[in-house]
Symmetry: C2
């Protein structure tokens, strides 16, 4: 077992991940979004009116994180919150028109980033990569 290969993989993963995050963050700025908010909005584009707990589960992050992100997105006019009618503990999150309009530009930027990442990696190689990524994902869950 060659430890250098393993280390290289791990380090590349870190580097790719942080570089992508930096680039994407820069890119989202002109939409007045921060990295992380896009995923939250993406979930709402699939269907809004969901609870904050549902967002936590989907995004795999802690409740205060969602509270703060939701607060910020609300202040920027992309979403609004309403207390559930049956359970006063529960807040449901809805998209504004402005929030809905973000879908195409965000999708576009996402695809741009993706193409840059995978440039010159063949369709066959992409299938292999997907398989390997999925297996690593499973290893960690």
């Amino acid at each position: 077992m060659n430890d250098n290969v393993d280390c290289d993989i791990r380090q590349s993963l870190d580097k790719v991940s942080s570089q992508m995050r930096r680039d994407y963050s820069e890119s989202l700025r002109e939409l007045k979004l921060y990295v992380g908010q896009d995923n939250l909005l993406a979930r709402l584009w699939q269907g809004d009116g969901i609870t904050q707990m549902q967002l936590c589960e989907h995004l795999k992050c802690e409740p205060p994180t969602v509270t703060n992100m939701v607060k910020s997105l609300e202040q920027n006019g992309f979403i609004y919150r309403k207390r559930d009618e049956k359970d006063a503990r529960v807040m449901r999150i809805y998209l504004t028109d402005e929030g809905r309009e973000l879908q195409d530009p965000v999708d576009f930027k996402w695809k741009q980033q993706q193409e840059k990442l995978l440039h010159s990696i063949s369709p066959e190689e992409r299938l292999i990569l997907r398989d390997l990524m999925k297996r690593m994902e499973k290893n960690l869950s």
Copy 2:
């Protein structure tokens, strides 16, 4: 071109990355370290007495980030700082004995994480994965 494959890759990358970061963060806690600090220390283990700018370049992050990390590590007794003798603008960062002693436990935790990530991925597959990761890394630089 199948967009689903590309999306899957990107999403797995995000998930793997954030999950690894969460697990590693938890793991480092008992060493009284935060994620990010380990990379800074790793650089110093290779040779201390370097400047903060050198650390910024190595870690690919901004100067205030290094300033804050260095400050925290100094307060915890892992490093100390001295102003350069020839250029009063420059701070050089040195390891304490305590900082040096962290190397083995941090390396151990790093390897644990790595093995978990790559479990049941064959040596051949690891070579392929390394190649693909390196190419993606290059795509982003």
